[in-house]
Every structure is written in structure tokens, then in C-alpha cells.
């Protein structure tokens, strides 16, 4: 017997020994799994690395590389060059114009003598050169280039010998062989106009400035007799022949008498403004009026004890660079008319750049953006971007100070001239507009009254710059997320509590998968529903929807309060019965609110007849405007309320008063207009625009929910001793009734303090708004919050529930006092994960908002999120450009946000695991 059993055992051993194949499969599986896991990690790291690789160059400065020196034909006052950097034009101190090759310094053609000058100016972007002569005349010249590309050129032997990429001077231009059989010829195109003068004056010009604005050339000139004038030169080509007619229009500059002759004159903003600057920094602004330029402002462009050495307007002539003897460059900017204040323009100093200590000798601007170069007397050269303040490059002039400097038209190089010749540098500007500051912090854009956070990636015209602050997008992301969470969290968490603590198991097993299935609804479908169904519906039934948000929960509370009236039989009824009562109550709530909504709207926000007149346009400009309101065009809500006290309103930035309606004809017209314009519309929406109505009504509506909560608290503490079945019903009813006076009280207090809800989370209604996004995106994240919260609640051990119930607690007390505290961290992490989802959600916000990157909390206004911004703009962004990289930065920021949110959730969950392990 023992033997037999032993042999049995051996046989069994053999039988159960794992086969080779099993080992093999195990090996292979291990390999595949490792590979997969590593692959995932590598991919994620790769994506992050790629994102960073695209984004990091944004923050880098540009690169500057010396490209040699060529001899210059003479010393220079001004220098300019063509876009291929082949041919340069140079104006020397005697008024002679030289053309020479930048390749080897050979002069091209004959120098052109424009005459000795006493005052001069040159605008690099338009090429307008102005020279003021001793006799009071002004020569205007335009320096430009002709570029010809041809293949069938008859070539001289010298040119024929050129290799591809080489160039040489030939006749009147510089020729380059760009391809085997293709040549590009750059030649100077200089037009010198007749000398223009203001016939009445013959004093010697001291300072001058000229530029082309549209079809006119405008010259500002100050003479040695203390007079100044602005000349508008219009040249009309006659249709026949080559003749042209030039007409000059002169407006004097009313220079304050007995002031010294200024050091500089400058045309600003298309010649509408003229700036006079003195060496000590004094700056006067003159604005055009009917018959003269009148002084409108006087400021100091420099600090105490600092004097101006050079000035240079930036591209677009709205900002002036002020170079000083302390080696600094200030930007002095002319703002647009101030809409919020007195409506005036102002000169403001925005930034200061510093080279070293030596005085600024020369400055040059880019013709594409607000980049500029500055050189000091020690030969130091810096390149900066004026708006962002980013330093793009730094270099040193060989052989001391440069007398003139110029930036290549394509911003791919710059040149400086001194006695040693023309030195050149290749410039790779990088991303001048992108700095940490310009991407995240307020930036003072040209023309603005103050620094601001703006996202506007594509500008309307060239001289306006694109604005790339990500803060409005981050704000939009948060705004969308916050409103979605405000909707989703209460619903999802309550549903999870109900499902986990109150629902019967069998019902729960049906409901949970259904809700989880909601999560698989594609977000584009939700976005479609939001944009095509919900948004129009809310537009048409706004008041009903808002009322429903309050009334439906109240009705459900009523429904649940009715339940105890059934007494102890209730717990024997199937749970579906209870659920149907609640659903029924909800339906009653919906019906009630759709009926009551418009009525409440009309009652709360009812329009006075004068307000109706305003909305239908039956108003006239006000006869008597209070003193404080004169000259104002933009009114805050508080000021509008003040005006309303005097019976006045604001329409289209003007103070108006209702017209007299006693005339029956006007009356009838008004009645007709009212029928067409106002009938059937929601007064609430008019109220939202801020044109009509007092803040009180809005506060009442807004404060109703807090009032309800306060009343609920009071209600629940009253009659604790009573356990009668009708008690809950009384509590709910009483709380609702009590909420009304509380809401009114709060509303009056808040309005009396001077708050207006329209300045906070309410504002003008747009169809695709945050409210719609909140609801639909809320729906998108409800399933995940519900599921994870439910899991967290379910993981609370049942022994705790039994203990609590056994001690005589109700199910509600058990849920709130025992189960919820244990599950809090789980629910918190559920909320955080939902938050991460909402922050990254793209399609819904893309489709359901207007994608306007505004920064206010208006729930009825639009927004633009980081993700939607990427989706909208990436297709049109130039690969590798600043915009493209900024969009990638949006992705990085989004990644950081979701990473932080998810990590927080994970940390909390780990904590939660440790804690629940103790139970």
C-alpha cells in the first residue's frame, strides 16, 4: 500500500509539472507586457519632450553673427538697403546720395547731390528723405529699390563668370546669379520731387520730419525764426502724359512764443499730431485742428538730468524711441483717446532699455514689427523688441561709435556705418514677442491706456501687433471648468450618495451602468446638442430655465417631504414607487417653472414706460446733463443708476432723456414700435445689458438661492422635537416662503452698498455662453464623478453603517455623519478627476461658446479655453512661427493644469486608501 501510493504521487508530479509551452507563454507574455508598458512610458515622455522642444525656443533670445565689413563711400547720416541686402543707399552730411554694393563696397552709378541741408529726416519704412535747405526750401526724396528677376538677360562677361549665389556690380545695379540661368538685379529707385516750400516763409529750417501717409506726404518743419508749420504735399498724376501736379497745403504749428527752437520735430499718427522735443527732455504735443496745430500736452520724455541725444519713431509712428546721454532708450507712446476717462490722448513713457553708460548715437527700426536697434558712442549695439522688452541680440561695432545704423527689411540682418566702413551682422530674431511676461502678465500694448491681458493672435492690419497673452485663455479654461463643476458636482455627488446609501441594490445595479454609459457619449455630440438645441432653447426660454434651476429641486424636496406622510407603510413599498414620486415632482417642477418663468421675469424686471421708450429709441439727447456726467462717453453701472435717478439714460454712449409722449401721433408710433420690438421678449435680457433697471431685481433673483439655504437652516432647526410626518412638508414650505423676504432684504442691502450683479457674474446675454457650456460640460463629467464617488462611498465598510443605524441614526444621518466623512477624500478625488476632464474638454466649449477670449465672469458671456484655442488656430498657424509655438505652449499649460489637478486627486486618494485601510 505505501509503495503504491508513492508511485501514485510520482505520477502525479509528472502529470502536473508545467510543460515547456507554459514557460514559453509566460516568457513571451512577460516580454510583451514589459514592451507595452515601456512603450507607453516612452511615448508619454516623448510627447512631453516634443512639446518642450517646440516651446523652449520661444523663450530664447535671437542670434547675432558678424558678417564682415565693406568700405563705405563716405561718412553717413542715413543708410538704407534693399530686402536682399545687396545694395545700400547712403546719405552723407553734405546731402550727397551714394549707392554702393554691400557685397564688396563698390559704388554703383554716380553720386546724386541733393544739396547742402540745414535740417534732415529719414523714415526707413517708407524711404522718405527730407532735406531742409538754407533758402527755406525742402527737398523730398523717396529712396526705394527696383528688383528684376530675369533669365534671358544679355550678360556681360563679368556677370557670366559668376557662380550661383555670387553677385557683382553691373551698370546701375548689383546682379546676383540666383540659379544656373536666373539673375536678380537690384538697382536704386530714387525719386526726387520738386522742392516744396511754404511760399510765405523763407527762414532757415532747423528741424524737419517727413513721411508718407496714404497718398500724401507730410512734412513738419521748424525754422530758425521760431515758426513751425506742417506741409501736406499732394501729388496728382495727370491722366495724359507724364506730368504731375503738386499742391501744398500748409498749417502752422502754434509754438508757444519765446520758447527755444526745439531739437527735434516729429510727426505722429498719420500727421494728426506733431511732437516737439528739446534736448533736456521737454516734450510738447500739438494736435491738428481746423486752422493750426495747437498744443495739447506737455510732458518730460526723460528723467531729471538726463538729456536726449537721438529720437526715432517706431513703425506706425505711434511710439517714439528716445535715446539719451545715459545710454538709455525710453519708449514714449501716444495712447488712443481714453474712453473711460476724459477722452483725451496721452503721451506715456512705457519702457526703458539700457545699453551701458555711453550716450545713444544711432537708432534704427524694423520695417516689419516693433523691433529696433540702438548703438551707443562706445560702439555697443543692442536689438530689442519694444513691446515685449525682449533683448534679441547684442554686439559691438568694430572701430568705435556708429554714425548710422539700419535694420534689414526682412529683419534678417543689420548694418552700422562709421569711419571704418559698413559693418554687417546676420540676425536670427527668434521670437521677439514672446517673453514670460508677454505670455502671462499684463503687457502695455501700443495705444493702450494701461497694461492689459489680451489674446489676439491675428491682427487686423500690419502695424497693429498680435497679442499673445495666455492668461485670458487660462482664465477661460477656469471659467468653463468652474461653471461646469458648479452644475456637475452637486448633481453627481448627490446622485452617488443616493445610489449608494438609499437605493436598493437591484435598482442600483441597473442605474449605475446606465450612468456610466453616458460617459461614452462623444463630446462632439454633446457640443452639437449644446450649440444647436440647448443654446437656442435657453435663448428663447431663459427665464424659465433659470427659474427651473431653483423650482425643480424645491419640487423634488416637496415630493420627498410628502413621502413620510405615507407613514410606516412607506418602507414596504418598492423603491421604484418612491423614485416615481420624485420624478413626478421633478416634472411638476418643470411644468411649473416653464409657466412661472416668464411671469416672474416680467414681474421682477418690469420695464417702466420711459425704459421702453429708451429701448424703442423714443429719446432725445438730454437737455441738462449733470456736471459730473458731461464729457463722459462711457458710464459705469453705478453712474447709470445715478443718471436714472435724474430721469436720464445712456444710449450709444450719450446721455438721453425720454421724449414727451403727450402727442397722440407720437404715442401711436411708440405703441406700434413697442409691439414689434418689445412684445414677447424677456425684460431680464434687457436688464442684463445694463441699459435699464436697478440692481435690486437682479440681486433678488441671485440671492434667492442663498436665501433659501439660510431659510432652510432656520427651518431645520425649528421644531426638532416634532417628529410628526407632516413636519418635513411644513419645513420645506416654510423655508420657501421665508426665503422671499430674506432675498429681498439681501438685495436691498447689496444694492444700497452700491454693488450691481451685472458687474460680476451677470452681463449681456449672448446665445453661445458659459451657462450652456456649464450645463453640457457638466453632463459630460457627471458620469465620472458619479462613478468614482459611488465607488468611494461603497468602499466604506458596512459595519460602520450597521453601527450607526443600530445606534438609532436615520439613513440620512448615517450617510452624512458616518459614511460621507470617510468617503470625503474619495469624493474629492472624484471631483478633481472631473475637473481635469472639464479643463481639457475641447469640442463642447468650441461649439457652445463664441470662443471670445474675454476675461469676465459673466455667465451669459463667452469665453475661450486653451484647448479650444489650439483647435481653432493650429490649422492656420505657420509651422515653427511664434504663433505656432505659442499654441504648443497652450498645450503645455493645459498639460500642467491637468497634471496638477490629477496629481492632487491621486495624492488625496492615496491618503484616503491609507485611512480606509485602518477601518
Amino acid at each position: 500500500m505505501p509503495n503504491a501510493s508513492q508511485s501514485h504521487g510520482e505520477a502525479a508530479d509528472l502529470r502536473f509539472r508545467p510543460r515547456r509551452r507554459v514557460y514559453l507563454i509566460d516568457r513571451v507574455a512577460e516580454g510583451v507586457i514589459t514592451l507595452g508598458g515601456m512603450g507607453v512610458i516612452a511615448t508619454v515622455l516623448g510627447i512631453i519632450a516634443y512639446l518642450l522642444w517646440v516651446v523652449v525656443p520661444l523663450m530664447k533670445p535671437g542670434t547675432v553673427e558678424g558678417a564682415g565689413t565693406v568700405p563705405a563711400p563716405s561718412s553717413a547720416s542715413y543708410i538704407t538697403l534693399d530686402e536682399y541686402q545687396r545694395l545700400a543707399l547712403l546719405v552723407d552730411q553734405k546731402g550727397v546720395l551714394h549707392a554702393f554694393s554691400l557685397v564688396d563696397g563698390t559704388t554703383v552709378g554716380e553720386p546724386l547731390d541733393l544739396g547742402a541741408y540745414t535740417a534732415s529726416s529719414f523714415s526707413p519704412d517708407t524711404g522718405v528723405l527730407a532735406l531742409g535747405h538754407e533758402d527755406g526750401n525742402v527737398t523730398l526724396a523717396t529712396l526705394d529699390y527696383n528688383i528684376e528677376i530675369d533669365s534671358s538677360r544679355s550678360v556681360s562677361p563679368q556677370i557670366a563668370a559668376l557662380a550661383v549665389g555670387e553677385s557683382a556690380v553691373d551698370g546701375s545695379g548689383v546682379v546676383e546669379r540666383t540659379d544656373e540661368d536666373q539673375f536678380r538685379t537690384v538697382s536704386a529707385d530714387v525719386t526726387v520731387s520738386d522742392q516744396v516750400t511754404d511760399q510765405t516763409e523763407s527762414a532757415v529750417p532747423v528741424v524737419i520730419d517727413a513721411d508718407t501717409f496714404g497718398r500724401n506726404r507730410v512734412v513738419a518743419v521748424i525754422r530758425n525764426d521760431g515758426t513751425g508749420s506742417v506741409l501736406k504735399v499732394t501729388t496728382r498724376r495727370s491722366l495724359v502724359g507724364n506730368s504731375s501736379k503738386t499742391s501744398v497745403e500748409t498749417l502752422p504749428i502754434d509754438i508757444a512764443p519765446d520758447s527755444q527752437t526745439p531739437g527735434w520735430v516729429l510727426l505722429l499718427d498719420e500727421g494728426r499730431e506733431v511732437l516737439l522735443l528739446w534736448e533736456d527732455g521737454r516734450t510738447q504735443r500739438y494736435s491738428v485742428s481746423n486752422d493750426a496745430y495747437k498744443q495739447t500736452e506737455s510732458v518730460s520724455a526723460t528723467d531729471e538730468g538726463e538729456s536726449i541725444t537721438r529720437i526715432q519713431p517706431l513703425l506706425g509712428r505711434r511710439t517714439v524711441l528716445i535715446g539719451t546721454d545715459l545710454g538709455r532708450v525710453h519708449t514714449l507712446m501716444l495712447t488712443r483717446p481714453d474712453e473711460k476717462g476724459d477722452g483725451n490722448r496721452k503721451l506715456v513713457r512705457v519702457r526703458t532699455f539700457q545699453i551701458e553708460e555711453s550716450p545713444i548715437e544711432a537708432m534704427a527700426i524694423s520695417r516689419r514689427d516693433r523691433t529696433f536697434a540702438a548703438a551707443d558712442s562706445a560702439g555697443e549695439i543692442r536689438i530689442w523688441h519694444a513691446t515685449s522688452g525682449k533683448q534679441l541680440g547684442t554686439t559691438r561695432m568694430p572701430g568705435g561709435a556708429a554714425s548710422a545704423i539700419t535694420v534689414a527689411p526682412k529683419l534678417d540682418g543689420f548694418y552700422a556705418v562709421n569711419e571704418t566702413g559698413v559693418a554687417s551682422w546676420r540676425l536670427e530674431p527668434g521670437h521677439p514677442k514672446a517673453t514670460f511676461e508677454s505670455l502671462f502678465l499684463p503687457v502695455w500694448y501700443e495705444g493702450d491706456q494701461a497694461p492689459s491681458l489680451v489674446y489676439q493672435s491675428t491682427s487686423a492690419d500690419d502695424s497693429a501687433e498680435s497679442k499673445m497673452s495666455l492668461t485670458p485663455l487660462i482664465f477661460g479654461t477656469f471659467k468653463a471648468t468652474v461653471f461646469a463643476m458648479l452644475f456637475a458636482v452637486p448633481v453627481a455627488v448627490m446622485a452617488a450618495i443616493y445610489a449608494s446609501e438609499f437605493m436598493s441594490k437591484s435598482l442600483r445595479n441597473k442605474i449605475k451602468p446606465t450612468i456610466e454609459m453616458m460617459a461614452s457619449l462623444p463630446s462632439v455630440v454633446l457640443g452639437f446638442i449644446a450649440a444647436m438645441i440647448l443654446a437656442p432653447y435657453i435663448r428663447d426660454h431663459l427665464s424659465s430655465v433659470l427659474v427651473g434651476l431653483v423650482v425643480v429641486p424645491i419640487c423634488i424636496l416637496f415630493g420627498s417631504a410628502l413621502w413620510p406622510l405615507l407613514g410606516n407603510r412607506a418602507w414596504r413599498l418598492p423603491q421604484t414607487a418612491q423614485l416615481s414620486v420624485i420624478v413626478l415632482a421633478g416634472l411638476v417642477g418643470i411644468a411649473l417653472s416653464s409657466a412661472a418663468g416668464p411671469a416672474i421675469d416680467r414681474a421682477l424686471f418690469s420695464l417702466h414706460e420711459t425704459e421702453e421708450q429708451l429701448l424703442t429709441g423714443f429719446v432725445d439727447p438730454a437737455q441738462q446733463i449733470p456736471e459730473w456726467a458731461e464729457e463722459k462717453s462711457v458710464f459705469t453701472l453705478g453712474e447709470r443708476t445715478r443718471l436714472r435717478g435724474a430721469g436720464l439714460y445712456v444710449l450709444d454712449d450719450r446721455v438721453v432723456e425720454p421724449i414727451d409722449m403727450t402727442d397722440p401721433v407720437i404715442r401711436e408710433q411708440f405703441e406700434n414700435r413697442r409691439e414689434t420690438v418689445l412684445a414677447g421678449s424677456s425684460p431680464f435680457k434687457f436688464w442684463l445689458t445694463g441699459m435699464v433697471g436697478s440692481p435690486v431685481a437682479g440681486w433678488v433673483a441671485l440671492m434667492f438661492v442663498p436665501a433659501l439655504i439660510i431659510a432652510g437652516f432656520i427651518g431645520s432647526s425649528v421644531g426638532r422635537a416634532h417628529s410628526a410626518a407632516w413636519m418635513p412638508l411644513v419645513r420645506v414650505g416654510g423655508s420657501v416662503l421665508m426665503a422671499v423676504p430674506i432675498a429681498y432684504l439681501l438685495a436691498f442691502v447689496l444694492s444700497a452698498i452700491g454693488f450691481d450683479p451685472r458687474e460680476t457674474i451677470l452681463g449681456t446675454f449672448t446665445q453661445r455662453n458659459t451657462f450652456v457650456v456649464g450645463i453640457i460640460m457638466g453632463f459630460a463629467v457627471i458620469p465620472i464623478i458619479f462613478t468614482i464617488s459611488d465607488d468611494a462611498l461603497q468602499s466604506v465598510p458596512n459595519t460602520l453603517r450597521s453601527a450607526s443605524l443600530g445606534a438609532g441614526a436615520t439613513q440620512w444621518q448615517t450617510a452624512v455623519r458616518v459614511v460621507l466623512p470617510v468617503a470625503t477624500s474619495g469624493i474629492f478625488s472624484a471631483i478633481m478627476i472631473g475637473l481635469g476632464r472639464a479643463a481639457g474638454e475641447t469640442m463642447i466649449v468650441l461649439m457652445a461658446t463664441g470662443n471670445t477670449p474675454v476675461m469676465d465672469w459673466n455667465i451669459f458671456g463667452g469665453l475661450r479655453t486653451l484647448s479650444a484655442n489650439i483647435a481653432v488656430e493650429l490649422p492656420e498657424a505657420d509651422r515653427g512661427g511664434t504663433h505656432y509655438r505659442v499654441l504648443f505652449l497652450c498645450g503645455v499649460v493645459l498639460f500642467v493644469i491637468t497634471f496638477v489637478v490629477n496629481t492632487t486627486a491621486e495624492i488625496v486618494r492615496q491618503h484616503f486608501r491609507k485611512r480606509s485601510a485602518m477601518l
Binding site: N568, L800, A803, L805, A807, G808, A809, T810, P821
Partner: protein, 284 residues
């Protein structure tokens, strides 16, 4: 002998089980000598289709310790949970028969379950302190009934902890988490929580099964001390424990209450052989 003739009662327990019928309990006469606080008559319970209790009838003497013994799955816990209607929460449960606490029906529709549970405290097999401070744990039953007076809460806490014989161990750490206590301390804390509202009946479902002998001894001593003030109904698998702590013992088998009498009668002079076999460890 067919299954549709439940009366007269079948002879043996096994017969009853075979015919799915109830069994007439062998009740020793001494039980009737005592004033009863809880009267159970013909109480049956179903979990869905499965019957867990068969016409259980017994009366629990006031101020005494009554032990419920029997093999696993015989329905001891079910019977215990029926007394404070914790079974209500299981949706598939259906009951028949009556239970009277102080001559007032427990299962009458007019009964307020919440106040019933306050009069019937319960201690579970696995200690289940809430994740709150020791103080909050003990006064939890008062908190949920809305008691807010600090003095009342403090007084109750001390009294309950004293009667659970744990006051001296925790009096300095009342505000620490109850989860930091040892298993035996936690169980005594749960007893303190159960007696905080002075229940009339204290139900204990295997309160010592998760504890070491020393902790067990402490709990047994505690039960001994509080007997008299409270009526205790205790489920135990430990025969020695039953004989040590209880005045009366009821033996259950497969949903039937088989024999019920004083502890000495059940352990020394059982009337039925099944009881004898079980208490001597030869069966079950």
C-alpha cells in the same frame, strides 16, 4: 407524517428539518419564573425564498444575560438583528409572528424604528468605531437625537465609558481618534457607545470572537458587571463563555429554537440529545 400537518409538533429536530417544518421548543420551566422584557412569539423570517427562522418563541428575562448558541448559519445573528429591526434594511426580508418589547409590539406599523433602536443597543462581532474622536464615538447616539448641551454630553460620555470599564484607559485621550485604540479597547468603546443611551436591551453578536483571551476576559467581566442594569442577549460560539457569563441559554439549530433554559440546565441537564451533543462539542 406529512409536511402539511405541522401540529402536533414533530418529534425530533431532524424530522422538522427534513419536513421543512418548525419545531416546538423545549423550554425549561424556570424561564417562566422570571419577568420578561422581550417576548418573541412564533417569529419567522425569510431572506427572499430562503427561510432563516422557523416560528421562534422565547421570552427574555429582564436584567439577565441570555446566551444564544448554535452552529454557524443557524440564524442567531438573524434573530438578534430582528430585535432592533436592522433587517428592515435588507429589502428582501419578510417576517411573520410577533416580538414584544415591554409588551409593546416591535413590528407594529406605528412603531418608530429609530426610537426602538435607541432602546435596543447593539454590539457587533467586529468592533466598528467611527472614524472620529473617542468622545464623539461615545456620544454619537446623543448627537443624532439632537442633544447639544456640553454638560450632558460630557457626563454621558464619562458614565458610558465607566460602565464599559474603559474610562481609566482613555480619559486622557478623549479627543484622539478612536481608530488608534487596540481591538479590545475598540470593542469596549463600542459597548460604551451602545450603553450611552441606557438601552433596555443590549444585543451582542459574538463580541469577543475577534479578541485575545485577556481582552475577552475583560469584556466578560464587563458583561457580568452590567448585567442587572441591562438585559443582555449575547450570541457566542464559545461554550465556556456562555456558561461563564450567561444566566440563560438558548440553543438554536437550522433556524429553529431547540432548547431554552437556565444555563446550568442546558449545560448540565439538557433534555434533548442534540443539545447535549452540541454543548459537549460532539456535534455542530
Amino acid at each position: 407524517m406529512t409536511s402539511n400537518t405541522p401540529k402536533p409538533a414533530v418529534r425530533t429536530v431532524q424530522d422538522a428539518v427534513d419536513t421543512n417544518a418548525s419545531f416546538e421548543t423545549e423550554t425549561h420551566s424556570d424561564v417562566a419564573d422570571h419577568e420578561s422584557v422581550l417576548d418573541i412569539s412564533k417569529f419567522s423570517l425569510w431572506y427572499g425564498q430562503a427561510r432563516a427562522l422557523y416560528d421562534v418563541s422565547m421570552s427574555i428575562p429582564r436584567g439577565k444575560v441570555t446566551a444564544l448558541i448554535g452552529p454557524s448559519g443557524c440564524g442567531k445573528s438573524t434573530l438578534l438583528r430582528s430585535v432592533n429591526r436592522l433587517n428592515d434594511l435588507v429589502s428582501i426580508v419578510r417576517t411573520e409572528g410577533e416580538m414584544m418589547l415591554n409588551n409593546r409590539s416591535i413590528y407594529d406599523p406605528s412603531v418608530d424604528v429609530i426610537s426602538l433602536r435607541k432602546r435596543v443597543g447593539m454590539v457587533f462581532q467586529k468592533s466598528n468605531p467611527f472614524p472620529m474622536s473617542i468622545f464623539e464615538n461615545v456620544i454619537y447616539p446623543l448627537r443624532i437625537s439632537g442633544e447639544r448641551k456640553k454638560s450632558v454630553l460630557k457626563e454621558t460620555c464619562e458614565r458610558a465609558l465607566r460602565s464599559a470599564a474603559i474610562w481609566d484607559e482613555v480619559k486622557d485621550r478623549l479627543n484622539e481618534s478612536a481608530l488608534g485604540l487596540s481591538g479590545g479597547q475598540q470593542q469596549r468603546l463600542c459597548i460604551a457607545r451602545a450603553v450611552a443611551v441606557e438601552p433596555e436591551v443590549l444585543l451582542m453578536d459574538e463580541p469577543c470572537s475577534a479578541l485575545d483571551p485577556i481582552a475577552t476576559a475583560k469584556i466578560e467581566e464587563l458583561i457580568h458587571d452590567i448585567a442587572g442594569r441591562y438585559t443582555v442577549l449575547i450570541v457566542t460560539h464559545n461554550m465556556q463563555q456562555a456558561s461563564r457569563v450567561s444566566d440563560f441559554t438558548a440553543f438554536m439549530y437550522l433556524g429553529r429554537l431547540v432548547e431554552y433554559g437556565t444555563t446550568s440546565q442546558i449545560f448540565q441537564t439538557p433534555k434533548l440529545s442534540e443539545t447535549e451533543q452540541y454543548v459537549t462539542g460532539r456535534f455542530g
